[in-house]
Structure formats: structure tokens, C-alpha cells
Amino acid sequence: MTLFRRLLLVEWSGLAVAILLGALALSVIAPNFLTEFNLYVMLRSLSVGLLVAFAQMVTLGVGQMNIAVGALGGLTAIIFGATIELYGFPLLLAIPLALAIGALGGLINGLLTARTGVNAFIITLATASAFTGINFGITGSIPFYKMPASLVAFGDHHLGAMPYLLVAPLIVAFLLGLFFSRAAPGRELLAFGGNPQAAELSGISRERVVVSAHVLSGLLAAAAAVLAVAQLGSAQPTIGADWLLLSFAAPIIGGAALTGGHISVLGTLFAVLLLGLIQNGMVLAKVDPYWVQFVLGALILAAVGLNRWRAVNSGVA
């Protein structure tokens, strides 16, 4: 097989090329691009997005959707903030609690989906509404501002261009990659996503798979929420409000199949990176921020089109 063909088969090759070209172009157009500060700002902005993308990627892996990703994130964020500001919880307690809430939300989603047989889209559409309602009901739209200095500092600190904030998502990326490619439970999730009937006939428990995927998704959403609080320096009820479309865009651009059974951790990572790059580029080039949405849409189309072309050309349609 020629090198070109091989590269064609690697799913994230298009993305990697786009990122390289983009970075190259930016470093020429905008002199500030390659400064440590700018790189730091850009990388920092990716942290939350990565976890949000992974949260959705996990449910896509089993062929389902989690519409409650943002709502759960927002709810977790304010509960996190409340436990700290109102009840004086130390971070060591508040963070695991927040993650647990996220997992609990995911558990609800997963159980409802698995037990009732109703489409996860609808279930999470409903729970999203419910979570948002609880969120705003509790906070009355008022954020929690008094976050511990250590948390805020963590959100700001960096080693060179590498923000501390990005370390956790990268570790998560590595673990997820390992999980889905080498761990038996991860393979079971993807097997179910690829062909639910076949998986069940092979003894894979539908309920276990669906619930695990949703719990993991909720957990990742909660992690994203905690990072968001660290990044913002306050627990805002609006956290997660704009996560939904991004949560689908990145995994899809990264090569995930909507029908399930096929996801790419690396692809998703590159997609988030590319989106961050574009956003950064637009700020540096002082492009009208309204272009962001437009470019996002164009990017999704381009990525999907490329995947299609690649599938047809490599004979694995």
C-alpha cells in the first residue's frame, strides 16, 4: 500500500494537515501567534472543550446522543460552587462530589434509556430541560463568585505555554484512547454501538453498556464543568449553555459515526485543537467574531465530506 493510501486511511490525517497548515498560515499572518502568551491562551481555551467533546463522544460510541451534556455541566458547576461557597466544602471534597453528581445525572439518563427503550435523544432532551430547570431554580441565575484562590490560580497557572488546566483533559484523552482501543469493556461499548443485536447475542449486556456510556458521559461533563469554574473563576449557572453544538461538532469532525461503534479520540482531540486554532486566529486577525459560527458550520461540512470521499476512495464505504 502506498504511503498516500496509508495516510488516507488514517482518519485524522486530514485534520492534522489542516492544523499544520493553519498554524503555519497564522504564524505568518499574525506575529503574535507563536508567542508563549498567545499559545497559552489558546491551549487554555481548549481544556473545557476537550472534555465536553469527549463527553459526547462516549455516547456517540454506543450509537446514542446525550443532549443533556451542557445542562448537566451547568447543574454540576453550580452545585460545585454552592458546596464551596455556601457550605464551605474543601476542594478535596467538592470536586469528587461534583464528579459524582455528573455521574449520577448520567446514571439517570442511562437507566431511563436502557429500561424504557425510549430513544436516548428524547430522554436526554427531557432531562436536559429538567437539569437546567433545577439549575436556575436553585441559583435564580446568580452565580457563585467566591471560589477558592487555589482553584482560580490553578486555572491561571502555566508551565511555559502549557496551562495546568489542559493537563487533566490530556490525561483523560490518553485514558479514553486506551480504554476504547485496548480495554475489553471499552471494546464492548463499541461492539454494542457497531451492532447492538450482534453484541447482545454475544452476551454483552445492553443495559450495562448503555448505562456505563451515559455515566461516563455525565462524569466527563462534570469534569468539564469543574474546569470551567476554574477557568472563569466563578460558578456560573450559564456554564454549559453553549456546549451542545460543540459537543457534537468536535467528535463528528474527528470522524465519529453517528450510528455508533466508531469514534476517534485522537480525531476528536485534533478537531477541538483545530477549532481552537481557528478561533484564536480570528481573534488575532481581528476578524469579526460573528464569523466563528459560520466557519464552524463550514468545517463540519468539510470534515464530513472528506470522510465520505475517503471512505469511497479506500473502498471501505
Binding site: 486506551l178 485496548r182 480495554a183 475489553a184 471494546r187 463499541l190 461492539a191 457497531g194 451492532n195 443485536q197 450482534a198 453484541a199 447482545e200 447475542l201 454475544s202 452476551g203 454483552i204 449486556s205 459515526a257 461503534g261 466508531h262 473502498g315 471501505v316
Partner: protein, 507 residues
């Protein structure tokens, strides 16, 4: 290890699928399970493999009563099955699919090297050409079925159930499979072999159990005592009646469809034939020969890359089935009636009227539902579709009735050229005979029929002439004298003249 079902019954809403059925499977035998569609075979299979529980009766493993709560239970008790539908994970590798239930791990992570090695052991028994690391997506249908069989083998089950395992594989592979099954039998495995191909059953089975209408009509009868007539009459409850097709005079000059040196993007080359009004032209070939693909190309669903297609003497460029039907009065009864031939969630009326909606619409483009039903009723009546009402959802009909609906819509629009693809696969024998006679009638009425079938007996009963296809080429033509022996030999002769030498079927 032996498996026994004692007086097992199962009722679904509205139908008693199994009525006190017994099956006695001994270790070291190949036991055939036969019966028409709707006889209860699949329900029985689902009970044995743990998908459903019987309402009454017992399942015994080596004399020990067991209760399978799920497929996993059955698997762990040593019951392994190859089902009719493909159950593979498309994006996983062949090896991973084979070992899905017990992926070998090293240090907690999946050991892919071991996966490939283990899988190869079983693949080699059937088809060493399949790469254990290849993605299942990239395999052919035949290869996928081989992988499934390898998967069942790999569980080293003591009880192996095969449901139509040879449906998509070639003769060569079937021979290899049978050799393997005999070896397993000799090693003490108990094998249940479900097939509608009588020749195969006679070739491989030791004993046979036959179901009809949910009851036993034969229970572990030795194969030596069985003849084809006895078997068929057991399955349908009366002696088999061969369809009587009226003689037609086909005017050779009235050519309605002609192919000249057609080649397609699917790989066909130099396809040349002519179809006349009132003629039943058979297109025979084995699985994978390229017949359905040719039909699809003619209909515009796949692309013609060379040669000419003439309809009623004029060159025709057919864009899609809509084009084929409206401009050229062509119809296609699909081989895959559930996915392509019918809309299961819609009513009978909707399914049949789909081809005549335009005609039924009034001046402003609206259709009166009652007019729709009235237009459809005569065809349902003619085809003897058993249904309480026209509003019945097609998904609820039996296979035979579904097929009738699938044909009805082309009758409704009075197609002049009808391509019928595998009309009686999975259909009970009664309906099969009925459909054969129907095809004869349609030809008598003047329509031109291109009949695609891999059922030799059906082809010889129906066709006036038979084209033989192999490897996407036409390799011969046989004038049909309706004598099974001579005509089938001629057809097979053409196929073997081209391809590998395959062993003649036993029995």
C-alpha cells in the same frame, strides 16, 4: 452432551408458535430441523439459544433441566449458534468478532496478537484466505458467513446450531463446511442443522425433526428412512403439488427488452440477451454470480458503463426506478422483500398503491383514501393475500403474504416488463406453488418476465429459456424442456466449464 426439549410450548399474542414440541438431540450426531416458515422453527431456535423462555415444557442438557435467561446463559452452557442474519460488528476485525465473547488479554489489555492467532486457528478450517486482521466491513457476504461459522466453532461448544449456514456461501465452501461438520460430529459434538435446501439436508443429516404449524410431525426420524416426497408432504401436510404453468406461444419478434454487450460499474461485461413479450426468461446463477446487480443496473440503480440497452426497440437511458416504472413500464420484485420490497410499518393499501398514487390523484393532486383501497382490493383478492383488513400493517403479515404484496404493486401499475428476483426464498411451499402459477399467469397475460433465481427446481418449472450467469458474465443459455435431469445438468455444465471444479452434491 445431549440436548432435549420436552413438550415445549410458546404462545405469542394471537398465535401459538409452539405446541408441545419435542426435540431430542444426541451427542455425536447431525440433526436436521425442518419446517416451513411459520412452522415454529425460529421460535424453537430462540429457545435453544436463550433468547426467549418457553411458556411450558422443559429444556434438558444431558438430562439436567436448565433455564436460559439470556444468550449469555446458553453460551456458558456450551450452546453456540450461527443465526440466519449476520451478527457481526462491522468495524471490528474478523478476529475480534470471532473472539468477541472472550477477548484474550494481557495485563488487563486486549492482546491483539493473540486474537489474530486464535482466530486464525478456526478460520483455517474453513477458508484460509480470510485475513484475521481485516475489518468485517471489507468482506464479501460469503466471507462474513464463514466468519460467523468460525465464531461458533471457536466457542468449542458441545452443541452447535446452524440456521441456514449455506445461504450465502459457494458450493466449494459448503463442501468444506460439511467436511468440518462431519469431523465435529465424529468428535462428539451435537449439531442442529436448519436448512430449507433439501439436497443439503439429505447430504449431511443423520436424523431429522420436522415441525408443522407449531407441532412435531417427525421427531428424530433417521434420514435413511426419509425420501424427498415424504419429507415435503410432512412439511406441508399433503403431497407436494408442482405448479402447472400454461403453455404460451412466444412471438420471437416481439422483443421488449434487449441488452447488447452491456457492461456495468459493478463488473459485468458483455451481457447480451433479448426478452420478449409473454416470455419467462430465467437468469440462473449461484450466490454472488451478479444477477441482482445486473437487474439493479438495468433499472438504473447501478450504472451501465458500456454497451446498449434497448427497450421496445429504442435505446434507453434509465435514471432510476422511478424512471423505469413511469417511462418504461418496468417493475422489480426485490429479492430482499423486507428491506427493499416493502415498507413494513405501512399498511397493505399504502404498499400496493405506491406505484399508482399519481394515477389515483384527482385534479388538484389529492387522493381519496377510499378510492385508494378500492383500487388495491382487486389485486389483494387476486393474489389471495390472507389479511383481516387492507389496513393491516405489512410487517404483521406472514412471509408468503408479504411477498404477494410486494408483487401486487407492480400488477397494480400494469408493468409490462417485470424483473422478479428470488420470488420464493423463505416462503412456505403452498405459497411457493401459488406464486409459480401466478408468474405463469402474468406471462400469459402478455407481460415479459425476467426471472432471477438460484432455485434450480423453480427455474426449470417456470422458465422458457434459461440464461446462466457466473462471475458477472453470461456463460450459457439453455432451452428449457422442463425436465429436471437434463436441463439442470446443462446449466451446471455451463457453470463448471468456467469456474473451479466443485464436488457434485450427494444424495
Amino acid at each position: 452432551m445431549g440436548l432435549a426439549l420436552e413438550a415445549v410450548s410458546k404462545t405469542f399474542p394471537g398465535v401459538k408458535a409452539l405446541d408441545s414440541v419435542s426435540l431430542d438431540l444426541k451427542a455425536g450426531e447431525i440433526h436436521a430441523l425442518m419446517g416451513e416458515n411459520g412452522a415454529g422453527k425460529s421460535t424453537l431456535i430462540k429457545i435453544v439459544t436463550g433468547l426467549i423462555r418457553p411458556d411450558s415444557g422443559r429444556v434438558l442438557l444431558d438430562g439436567r433441566a436448565v433455564q436460559f435467561g439470556s444468550p449469555r446463559d446458553a453460551l456458558s452452557e456450551g450452546v453456540s449458534a450461527v443465526h440466519q442474519e449476520r451478527n457481526l460488528i462491522p468495524r471490528f476485525s474478523v478476529g475480534e468478532n470471532i473472539l468477541l465473547e472472550r477477548l484474550p488479554t494481557r495485563n488487563g489489555l486486549v492482546d491483539y496478537g493473540a486474537v489474530a492467532r486464535e482466530a486464525r486457528r478456526y478460520l483455517e478450517l474453513l477458508d484460509p484466505g480470510i485475513d484475521a486482521r481485516a475489518k468485517v466491513l471489507s468482506l464479501s457476504v460469503a466471507q462474513m458467513q464463514i466468519v460467523e461459522i468460525a465464531k461458533a466453532l471457536s466457542s468449542e461448544a458441545k452443541i452447535l446450531l446452524l440456521d441456514e449456514p449455506t445461504a450465502s456461501i459457494t458450493e466449494h465452501e459448503t463442501a468444506a463446511l460439511f467436511k468440518l461438520l462431519r469431523k465435529l460430529r465424529d468428535d462428539g459434538v451435537a449439531i442442529v442443522f436448519v436448512s430449507h435446501k433439501l439436497e443439503e439436508v439429505f447430504a449431511i443429516a443423520d436424523r431429522i425433526t420436522v415441525l408443522r404449524d407449531g407441532k412435531n410431525v417427525a421427531r428424530g426420524a433417521p434420514m435413511e428412512d426419509m425420501t424427498r416426497q415424504t419429507l415435503v408432504s410432512l412439511m406441508i401436510g399433503r403431497p407436494e403439488r408442482v405448479a402447472e404453468i400454461a403453455e404460451r406461444q412466444v412471438d420471437p419478434s416481439r422483443v421488449v427488452l434487449e441488452a447488447r454487450g452491456l457492461s456495468t460499474t459493478r463488473g459485468h461485461k458483455n451481457i447480451t440477451f433479448a426478452l420478449r413479450y409473454g416470455e419467462i426468461l430465467g437468469l440462473y446463477g449461484l450466490v454472488g454470480a451478479g444477477r441482482s446487480e445486473l437487474a439493479h443496473a438495468i433499472l438504473g440503480d447501478a450504472r451501465i458503463s458500456g454497451g446498449e440497452l434497448l427497450i421496445r426497440g429504442e435505446p434507453a437511458r434509465i435514471r432510476d426506478v422511478h424512471d423505469a416504472s413511469t417511462r418504461f413500464r418496468m417493475g422489480y420484485v426485490s429479492e430482499d422483500r423486507k428491506q427493499e420490497g416493502l415498507i413494513l410499518m405501512h399498511s397493505i393499501t399504502r404498499n400496493v398503491a405506491v406505484t399508482i398514487w399519481r394515477r389515483l390523484a384527482n385534479v388538484i393532486g389529492l387522493i381519496n383514501p377510499r378510492a385508494e383501497s378500492r383500487a388495491v382490493a382487486p389485486f389483494i383478492k387476486r393474489l389471495d393475500v390472507r389479511t383481516p383488513s387492507l389496513g393491516q400493517l405489512v410487517g404483521n403479515l406472514s412471509g408468503g403474504n408479504q411477498q404477494k404484496v410486494s408483487i401486487a404493486k407492480w400488477l397494480a401499475v400494469q408493468s409490462e416488463i417485470l424483473i422478479i428476483d428470488e420470488p420464493t426464498v423463505g416462503i412456505d411451499i403452498k405459497t411457493k406453488t401459488y406464486l409459480h402459477e401466478l408468474i405463469g399467469e402474468i406471462a400469459c397475460e402478455g407481460a415479459a418476465i425476467l426471472l432471477i433465481s438460484s432455485d434450480m427446481a423453480e427455474m426449470i418449472t417456470l422458465a422458457d429459456r434459461i440464461l446462466v450467469m457466473h462471475g458477472f458474465r453470461l456463460v450459457g443459455e439453455v432451452a428449457n424442456d422442463h425436465q429436471y435431469e437434463t436441463t439442470s445438468r446443462a446449466i451446471i455444465g455451463y457453470i463448471h466449464a468456467v469456474g473451479d471444479v466443485t464436488p457434485a452434491p450427494a444424495g
